[in-house]
Point group: D2
Chain length 211, copies 4
């Protein structure tokens, strides 16, 4: 049944494209995350998703002292970088969060970015977690922190977590995978994300969301 | 839009009833959880859900040495209690998990029950978390453990967690609430659960699930 | 300085032996945990520790309906298995907890055992975490749950976590390691555990503990 | 026995003073954390501890792109703010971490600060967690994240967590408590912290630490 659906989906107009916000949560020098994000971007585009990329280094996203919703419903006096980016968070149908692991939690640049926007912007949508580390445990402690964060934000993380151990050996600089596990790992998570994003999008369009 | 939907829903035939599996995770003597479960059951029935109740004390659910799927696709040699109850897990459209908190985790009788069934039985469905404690923090540490567990099982927990501090003062023995917070707390979580359960059920029926 | 101390320690009388309670948290058929526990027992004995082993399968430890301290200060009416084993928990200077990972949490047989005894029995002592899985992430999600549990119990877990991925390839049935990582992984954790256990024991003997 | 010890301790020379690093993890406008930190500072000074206060707002602590140890053993090219503050982290005998809760995790300004220094600077010492929220659950989700972080850093968090619900009603601007729970909550945690800090300091001075 699902295969039949996938074939039909290929013939759908681009009007139905899923919008995915890809978020990279590291600003450290020499970060490996960009390789992972490049790979994930390609995997998302191959599925014909409309991808927006949040990359705090290039956005020059500052350490914020107020989330955008603290400036009131009209966002009066809110920094432009918050106001402009809030609409991408709101517009997204799903989120893919690429995270390093620092001391068994997520990078501060990631929480700083996620915390900047209201739960209402994330709600009734799914997220997919991609965690990596230079060691052998693939950032799984960071993933556990993200289960809690995404749950609270309202973008429920799909079951499968794409964990990448020894990330430095897993991709080249352009995000080309050096082993087969990367393709299958991304696929498992993205299959779930696409399913959930479509289910929730259809239902949002049909009935709206509870106030 | 959502209100309009809710009015229309009232006219739907019972064929569309959501099946909810309500799970109580405590077997301790003098447990307060039964009061909470009674209350939740009523709240679920008021929404016209079809409720099945998993209560390990009455089920005499044993400490298991193998989950049911370890007995192979035909469940050969599996204890009857596992085989019989697996179908309720599979049939459910959503789960409500009522949990105490023991030493900042969930009761063993709860994980013992949840672990007994395969992820495939829980997947592509939502869950709602109801946590309680005799103290002031409402079982929120147990809730964090359940975020991880439900995520892995595949029944993603909805954003709102219904946390009940000083549970001994919150309900009478029949599960009648002694303050207004209980009604509003349950409502917030159940609104999300109903939305998610409907979204996912519709999509399962339309396209199946990824294999 | 620490090496000098280690040399001196070798000449100490057995009166100073550290008592370690080794706890295996799995009762599943075909469990790999026994191999890990056998290995850890040997590592502990090589350090001249006095090892007591809690193995729920052999203890026939039941799913409890009350922890032992709920029976009052004189443990009136408490099951013998709880009363008899409480003294080993109390007497221990340190704990080594060997845990599988089920659905991103710890096995119910482990929490059932740990929860059976009061925090006061565990307090002002350290614990060491040994987690394993058949997959690649070494039980690190279970370890995160144990950070919270041991913290609440009062037996603070030392920094280093000994995580064992693909445990089925790591030991033979007698707990002999099949690769060098096992020795070095155990050593790192046990060095910390021994240090902490000695520091805390010395201080308990010198000043008692806060009431 | 412990009371006797406390009396004797009062006669000790200041040479034995415990050094505590008090860390406030919020830079948000209108933050309540400063009230909590003022209160905790007073509680620490009443115990005759030598208190250093890390307050990222006043320190103008930047979002870092490299922790100080990534600059090599001589810290060549490291920003002065990292090099100068590292010595306070190293010199401390204990840490008190005051944390808000944002989306069920800790504030990014807190992880940014903690992550800036190496584990070796924190190791073989205890930490005490003080969490607060404007709601009813006292920041307990943030506390769970801090259990993992402090565990990995090496400054094991003591069992008791001082959780402060509805913090806006708990202190005045000078950090004077408006109810009795604050005194008793701080006391329970600090009794444990002092005990652990003394135990570990004594053992560090006696035997050094494992390399």
């Amino acid at each position: 049944m699902y295969r039949q659906y996938l074939r039909e989906r290929e013939n759908m107009s681009s009007g139905g494209k899923l919008k995915v916000l890809l978020i990279l949560g590291s600003i450290r020098d020499g970060r490996q995350g960009l390789r992972v994000a490049k790979f994930m971007r390609r995997k998302l585009e191959e599925r014909n998703f409309d991808v927006k990329f949040f990359y705090p280094v290039e956005m020059k996203f500052p350490l914020i002292t107020q989330p955008v919703h603290f400036y009131g419903p009209e966002r009066k006096g809110a920094p432009a970088i918050l106001v402009e980016n809030e609409k991408f968070v709101k517009d997204a149908d799903a989120y893919v969060i690429v995270s390093a692991e620092y001391n068994h939690n997520v990078p501060p640049a990631l929480t700083n970015l996620l915390d900047a926007f209201p739960c209402s912007a994330y709600s009734y949508k799914p997220s997919g977690l991609v965690c990596y580390s230079m060691g052998q445990f693939g950032g799984m402690r960071a993933a556990m922190a993200l289960r809690a964060i995404t749950g609270e934000l309202g973008c429920l993380s799909v079951s499968n977590i794409f964990g990448i151990p020894t990330v430095q050996n897993a991709f080249d600089e352009e995000g080309n995978p050096k082993n087969d596990h990367m393709e299958s790992g991304a696929k498992k998570m993205l299959d779930q994300l696409e399913w959930m994003a479509t289910a929730m999008k259809n239902h949002r369009e049909k009935v709206g969301v509870p106030s």
